[in-house]
């Protein structure tokens, strides 16, 4: 059975972890939650750096941990990227890359050149870690984790120690990884930006427990537990640039369920990207009417839930395969007769490209 089954229970002073997870065997799974929520501990348990008193871990059908088995860290086919710079200071960049590669005996399986090119570190190979910038160090750390030919890639907030500029420098590399690797990636983060850009699957953690888990779009669209990215409820939709209207400087983004026009930001036709649509930028109408809002889609009311204020409601609308969230006043819900199952027109005022 492909995938990862992980159950861990452990307790320290003032902290307890109790999780039972079934994670997909491919794509990027982001563990999201505030610091102290136990996401790093889960990752360390999966790597074998931490040993939960009670635990069971099965990866791709192989038992890594249960009551009788314990696979030590160095025998697990993983790649691990630590939060802060963790390069071996006594080795050069190439020495760091070769350290794991030699021991994993996969010199032929993974092409070192390919990894070096993927992370753009070819000009750094002879340098010592002390003479690299923070962003360069983290790129080398990622390359080093890939060079062992892992069957599972674990990343513990690889961008947390970097400033915004360095983050922007590395994110494209991570996106490229997501699109080219066919191994599962478990990624710990407390940044909604990284969730929006990288996650395929989301695990929301709080105080050592799993609050929600599921595919990104579905989990974000849950009304009982709105996961706030950028401090607001909203939906993430995967789209492709379908056309560019040069005369009006607009680009058409196609998704499974319709298309949206947005400002042309110079992306080529065919480019895949994610868009973030905030609930406050979505309104509902009984019938299409001339309006300054040009993006109007046909959708079905899927669910209605409470919002952060008693006067407001969060309405989930299904548009084709996509789920959008709309924030309405309770009065508007009543006046328009918004009810589950009803078809309505969805007006989208603003679309943010997650790139």
């Amino acid at each position: 059975m492909a995938g990862i089954d992980a159950r861990f229970r452990l307790g320290w002073d003032g902290f307890s972890l109790d999780v039972d997870l079934g994670l997909p065997g491919r794509g990027v799974t982001v563990f999201f939650g505030p610091s102290g929520s136990g996401k790093t501990t889960v990752l360390r348990c999966i790597a074998g750096l931490e040993r939960a008193a009670e635990g069971r871990l099965v990866v791709d059908g192989a038992v890594w941990q249960d009551a009788r088995h314990w696979l030590p860290v160095h025998k697990r086919p993983i790649g691990y990227v630590f939060q802060e710079a963790s390069l071996l200071a006594h080795l050069s960049v190439i020495g760091n890359l070769r350290y794991g590669m030699r021991r994993s005996g996969c010199g032929g399986v993974v092409s070192l050149d390919h990894v070096i090119a993927l992370l753009g570190i070819g000009h750094l190979l002879d340098r010592r870690p002390g003479r690299l910038s923070g962003g360069e160090r983290q790129r080398v750390a990622i390359a080093r984790a890939l060079a062992v030919g892992p069957r599972l890639l674990l990343m513990d907030e690889p961008l947390a120690a970097l400033d915004v500029k360095r983050k922007q420098e590395i994110l494209p590399y991570l996106e490229r990884l997501r699109d080219t690797l066919d191994i599962p990636v478990l990624y710990v983060s407390h940044s909604s930006d990284e969730v929006a850009r990288l996650a395929d699957y989301l695990v929301v953690m709080e105080e050592g427990r799993v609050r929600a888990t599921g595919p990104l779009a579905e989990t974000l669209a849950r009304l009982d537990l709105p996961v706030r990215l950028r401090r607001d409820a909203g939906a993430i939709i995967a789209a492709t640039v379908g056309a560019v209207d040069a005369a009006w400087h607009l680009a058409r983004l196609d998704f499974r369920g319709g298309s949206l026009w947005t400002r042309d930001q110079g992306l080529p036709v065919g480019h895949r990207l994610r868009v973030h649509i905030l609930a406050r930028d979505v309104s509902l109408a009984e019938r299409p009417a001339p309006s300054s809002i040009q993006n109007v889609l046909r959708g079905t009311i899927d669910a209605i839930g409470d919002d952060e204020h008693p006067g407001l409601a969060l309405v989930r609308v299904r548009v084709g395969e996509a789920l959008l969230l709309a924030r309405l006043t309770r009065r508007a819900v009543a006046a328009l007769g918004v009810g589950v199952g009803r078809e309505m027109w969805v007006q989208v005022k603003s679309v943010a490209l997650v790139e």
């Binding site: 750096l49 071996l88 794991g100 021991r103």
Partner: protein, 226 residues
């Protein structure tokens, strides 16, 4: 201004003793320092205190107990008798054993500091890169703690060269066997041969200064001497 033949013999013996002790302590002290640097055991405190004892004990106290232990009725003496080995007291080997105890903290403490400074992260990194614990120790911990090894070895060597009380208690004063440089100086002074004492004393003084100069003035040193 030349040293006499017996002076040279004493110096040769001293160097042989200090090298042997340093080598033995590198092997014995490293695991102790490693354990002390990483353990969370209740035993850490007591063991660290025992290791540090020679720093505060008068050498004569240590020498006295070692002499009793190595004597015909002591546990070590009985053991050597059973094993058919000659008694250790008043031999070069006895001197080595005594010096190993006496110089133990000078090896263990700098190493412990160096290992603690390396921390656990590089070893975790090595483990995720498929290195077994032994592999990680030799290819990551030891190279990262290399300055600590240098400090520890130099301090141990120098301290063994400088010991006197323990040597006198355990080794006595046998030319070519246990009469090391510090004892030789004592002999010169006893015989009122102040000129001879001066020459050897000056030689030791210069040696010690040079050793400390290397320790304190070495460029880009990461671990300060304790």
């Amino acid at each position: 201004m030349l040293l006499t033949e017996s002076d040279l013999q004493a110096i040769g013996l001293t160097v042989r003793l200090a090298s042997t002790v340093t080598l033995i302590l590198l092997i014995l002290g490293t695991p102790i320092a490693w354990w002390l640097a990483r353990t969370k055991s209740w035993w850490k405190g007591p063991i660290a205190a025992v290791v540090a004892l020679p720093l505060v004990l008068p050498p004569s106290v240590l020498g006295f107990y070692l002499l009793l232990a190595m004597g015909p009725n002591g546990p070590v003496g009985r053991l050597t008798a059973i094993l058919g080995i000659a008694p250790l007291a008043f031999t070069f080997r006895g001197l080595v054993v005594a010096s190993v105890f006496y110089s133990l903290p000078f090896m263990v403490q700098p190493l412990q500091t160096a290992f603690a400074a390396v921390g656990t992260r590089p070893l975790e990194v090595a483990a995720t890169l498929r290195a077994s614990p032994w592999d990680a120790f030799f290819t990551v911990a030891v190279p990262l703690a290399a300055p600590g090894f240098l400090t520890a070895a130099i301090l141990t060597f120098a301290h063994t060269v400088g010991e006197f009380g323990v040597v006198l208690m355990i080794g006595g004063n046998l030319p070519g066997v246990t009469r090391v440089a510090s004892v030789q100086i004592y002999d010169h002074v006893e015989a009122l041969a102040y000129d001879d004492a001066h020459r050897l004393a000056a030689a030791l003084m210069i040696f010690s200064f040079l050793v400390l100069l290397v320790l304190y003035a070495w460029p880009s040193r990461r671990n300060p001497a304790p």
